[in-house]
Amino acid sequence: MRKLPDIKHQNATNITHPNTSVMGKPTPHESARLHLTGKALYIDDIAAPEGCLHAYVGMANVACGLLKRQDLMAVTAADGVVDVITAKDIPGHVDIGPVFKGDPLLVEEQINYFGQPLFAVAATSRDAARRAALLGQADIEQTPPLLTLEQAQAAEKQVRPSHSLVKGDSALALSESINTLSIEQHVGGQEHFYLEGQVALAIPQDNGGVLVHSSSQHPSEVQKLVAEVLALPMHKVVVDMRRMGGGFGGKETQAAQWACLAALLAVRNQKAVKLRLARSDDMALTGKRHPFVNQAQVGFDSEGKITALNADLHGLCGCSADLSDAIVDRAMFHTDNAYYLPAATITGHRWFQNTASNTAYRGFGGPQGMMLAEQMLDDIARRLGKDPLVIRQANLYGSDQRNITPYHQTVKGVDLTRIIDELVHSSDYWARREAIKKDNQASIKNGGRYIKGLALTPVKFGISFTAMFLNQAGALVHIYTDGTVQVSHGGTEMGQGLYTKIAQIVASELGLPLEHIEVTSTRTDKVPNTSPTAASSGTDLNGQAARNAALAIKQRLIDHIVDTHQVDAENVVFEDGHVSWPNHSISFAQLTQEAYMARISMSATGYYRTPKIHYDREQAKGNPFFYYSCGASVSEVKVDTFTGTYTIPRVDILHDVGESINPAIDLGQVEGGFIQGMGWLTTEELVWGQDGRLQTNGGASYKIPAVGDTPKQFNVALLQDSKNHEATIFHSKAVGEPPFMHGISVWSALRDAVWAAGGEQVNPQLDAPATPERVLWALKAANSIKPNIVVEAS
């Protein structure tokens, strides 16, 4: 530029920011004002180019079969239709599987789930496209679908081979155990129910390439898949993602199909194309959390300490591998949860089903593994007639001994003893335990309608992608000559506050107020080859990369000051929007102008890879996790014994996020994660018909928690004075997934209530989700269905 921007106002000494230290502050979400004024743009809100077409898919009406022939004449002839494509029209790869093959963009021959897209149509309006998509005629040779674990086992159909973690001789240890018990537990899946459904907008470019706005947690993968589908080199494809209306794992791989179809139709027709799924189709066509059937034999001593575990985790993966290998692995890695297992054999199986391919969902298999651990601890306690909390405390990992996991990682930096002690105190656990016992006894005696339950469960969650290479991130920082800064990084914003934290990190390093930092949309042309925003790693990875980029420029600026003003580098301070050294202070903006005139680059990339992690899957040994994120929760439930319905009067959570970068955002993750976990284990029930069709395909039949489900008393706190022992970004800890598993305390409390209702005689079997119906049957099994009015003591 020939003339530098006017920055006089920034130099005025009276316009300093009194306290620009933004690290650790509860600053609002960077888009809060945009969200609440409706100005925040999601993909469907972006003004589409003139003549934008709308795409939709024609869907299979069977769950399993061979597509012999399609008659799409009526589709082509329908009002407004511009283009109709089948698999034959795909110039490049048909398969868009993220890791393994098995996910065709459009069916070539084998139909694997009800609703699987057979063709795509582009029309002048979304309504026209949706209506036309119903007109396809398909000749399908139908075969019976595999829908259950038993069917998959009988057919011996797995999407990936089984795999085991082995520590010691668990069979021998079991045979030598004084006590043993067996568990079989069914844990349901979960629909993501992001409020913004799957959507993509593709705009053809003059270079033969395409720009794709995709509501995706993984823009780089969408870029790669679009390029492969279109048979284009990757540098012709740009993917842009500013914000998602929720992701939760449901847009890690599941966004790609719609982006690829929109891109293909856009390039074919040289028109912008938007594809947005209707809610019912979104729910039917995209994968969900894996349902699991967990089976185990547990050995334990007279004190309730576990001596051995043999566990089989059966993950129901749907029709393809997708990310199931890693998801079932993570379930296996969390079968111990917070408890030391002296000897363990944990085997994970990956079964095929004729349903949409199950996929990433907050916790990524971890919650399903942890459910087995928590049932185990409750069952041991009931067998021994002890309070489950005592048994849990007795089995926690030790700090110097009893600290080796089934995958041979030494547990460090996990202080669940402290967390539980503080929570027991703040939640008044023991006094409430006694009070609830009394209330329940009175209720049983008087034929009362309600019974209460209480449970404390801990969470220890391993942080890092278990696919080692994904633990890397990049960032790009630009500083302009008015002192403002743009940051791009590989992470995506889905509401978790990643952009806010990144802005805080960069602002903190450059000593700038938050308003001087703009985090721009995540684009594959700004930061290449990124990892998905997943595994709770967004801030850990991208925060470090952004920090490294900022530090690189800061170092150049310091060098410049050292050169021109002959000061020691360590005496140069960046704070409050100013840069100071002994007896001098200039605004940051002024420094950027001086640096520009001195021809110093004010743009830098930053890069980060997680240290210390390694894992040998063949041997099932190593340190897959950089550290663990921990917490604990206490839930109280009140069960209506007439109906099995229940309310949750009180929940207390204490969660460790290390040194919080933004406590408001972290609390939001803990509260929201808990409620989502609670929903998974209570009211969120997925039901498929015999034909493989998803019956719970809308908000009317699939019930995520509503406002009244929030506990009446909901005390959530972050653990104080808890620095991550590892050198993570500002010694914080990842927070996205771990709090989800606090929901397990609700399920455990429901079992506690049923146990109490049955006079502490019958250890309740309560599969998840613990819908009112399942709770009622558990009550019936415990002989405690009310109103038990037939006989009263006279």
Partner: protein, 479 residues
């Protein structure tokens, strides 16, 4: 038709019958603050505020734009979030920023609108006592029962509402943005005085304003569907992709808009919305108001009518069981002729009613409980709010000297229609109320109902829970 969209008066000439307000806002008006989350009224991301003239004042309510038909909004004031753009923010927006109430932000516009209208219509509450706080939270939960958030777990939204509760409402910045309330009211009066259609004969969306006009219109087009709140009908459009050429809206008919108490009965016209019934019945028939608190969502109750819930003839309708138990009657009208039938004779089978061609429900006559008559309704669903019943059990009993002088039991979700438990009733009637008698209820009930298994509940669960609730009710009556 004419409507006031934020601060702009708009005339739309003969709009198609099947365009939803949301589609029109987003696609024709390019107002994208209102989001589509589900398009079937389950999530509330599309919540807008709709003002209607009532007794010379504008009354504002939250509405799901996704299932409100554009053509039904003649003479209304539609307020979208696009009008709340003051840099100082509306108090609701400010409280929500301060309480970190948004994460992904997609549901936020709907929450803002629901809270703005709640705040507008709720007196300030200082929250000084636990009772005041509980009452406040209950009100907020009712106001937000139709807004789903998947990120926050709702706590920061509830905290924002707590902060708003005690604040002074007089100078509501909502209206300041649109020239003040009086200005809006004047505007509304002027557009409401204009007729819906330029030519009523070619109109796709017929909106008769008198009973006579309605009767004539329905006689002329007897196969046309009647519509009130369109909270179910619109699902056929957005989810079922149906085209609907013509509709007749009953909510503008003056004679059908009243709800009143006379001679120990409540008369509810076909145009009366559920929210009005909810308020009206609070003291007269609390069981009705409590049931309505769990009926769909605030947004749906602000549009749907009580008669619509009957006429829709759904096996899982929640209102008919209570009406059956109370012995409600329906006044039906065909042309200018009226007849009265008992509600128990109205539902003939699954989605089949006693209505003749060209006949419509004029109103419901609901007897109030007699002294000593106990009335109870129990709705059972997976989720407490905005869920469809596995079973909905309504019961009433009158005891004389320990014997059952009157007993009525009716259930939704247990048969192809909301149905009375005739066998159980007749076995109980006249008997002394004893534990031995109550113990036999499940046997009789099994003869009354053969429910089905579906994704909401199994037949066995429905049967068991219904029996439990009836037994529990009888046991309670014994005390």
């Amino acid at each position: 038709m004419h409507l006031l969209l934020n601060k702009m008066a708009i005339e739309i000439v003969d709009p198609a019958a099947d365009i939803t307000l949301l589609q029109w806002l987003r696609e024709s008006q390019h107002l994208t603050a209102t989001k589509e989350g589900c398009a079937v009224g389950d999530c509330g991301a599309c919540t807008v505020i709709v003002g209607e003239l009532e007794h010379g004042e504008a009354v504002y309510r939250s509405v799901n734009a996704c299932i409100a038909l554009l053509a039904s909004l003649h003479g209304c004031h539609v307020i979208t979030l696009d009008v709340l753009q003051d840099s100082n923010l509306h108090p609701v927006q400010r409280a929500m920023v301060e309480c970190h109430s948004s994460q992904c932000g997609f549901c936020s516009p709907g929450f803002v609108m629901s809270l703005v209208v709640w705040w507008l219509n709720t007196p300030a509450n200082q929250l000084t006592t636990p009772e005041a706080f509980a009452q406040h939270r209950h009100g907020v939960e009712l106001a937000l029962s139709g807004n789903l958030c998947r990120c926050t777990g709702y706590l920061p939204i509830l905290l924002a509402a707590d902060r708003l509760a005690p604040m002074d409402r007089t100078m509501d910045p909502l209206f300041n943005q649109m020239g003040g309330y009086d200005h809006c009211l004047a505007h509304l009066k002027s557009i409401a005085s204009q007729s819906h259609a330029r030519d009523t004969r070619t109109q796709a969306y017929m909106a008769p304003s008198s009973l006579e006009e309605l009767a004539l219109a329905y006689e002329a087009f007897p196969k046309t569907r009647l519509v009130a709140g369109s909270t179910d009908l619109a699902l056929g459009i957005t989810h079922g992709l149906q085209s609907i050429e013509r509709l007749i809206d009953v909510t503008g008919v003056k004679e059908l808009q009243s709800i009143e108490q006379r001679d120990h009965h409540i008369y509810i016209g076909a145009g009366v919305r559920l929210s009005e019934v909810e308020t009206f019945c609070q003291a007269l028939l609390p069981a009705m108001s409590d049931l309505l608190g769990r009926f769909a969502s605030r947004q749906v109750r602000n549009r749907a009518t009580l008669v619509g819930n009957i006429a829709n003839s759904s096996p899982i309708a929640d209102i008919p069981p209570l009406l059956l138990v109370m012995g409600a009657k329906l006044i039906l009208q065909c042309g200018l002729n009226q007849r009265t039938i008992s509600l128990s004779e109205f539902n003939l089978g699954y989605k089949k009613t006693a209505l003749k061609i060209g006949e419509f429900i004029h109103s419901v006559v609901l007897p109030l409980p007699l002294s000593r008559q106990q009335v109870s309704v129990e709705k059972v669903s997976k989720r407490a709010e905005d869920d469809i019943s596995a079973t909905c059990v309504a019961m009433s009993i009158t005891l004389t000297h320990g014997a059952i002088a009157q007993i009525n039991i009716a259930c939704g979700g247990m048969a192809a229609i909301p149905k009375m438990a005739n066998e159980t009733q007749s076995q109980l009637l006249g008997q002394p109320l004893t534990q031995e008698l109550v113990a036999q209820v499940p046997l009789w009930l099994a003869r009354d109902y053969q429910p089905i298994d579906d994704m909401r509940a199994s037949a066995a669960y429905r049967q068991q829970v219904t029996a439990n609730l009836i037994q529990g009710f009888l046991k309670e009556a014994m005390r």
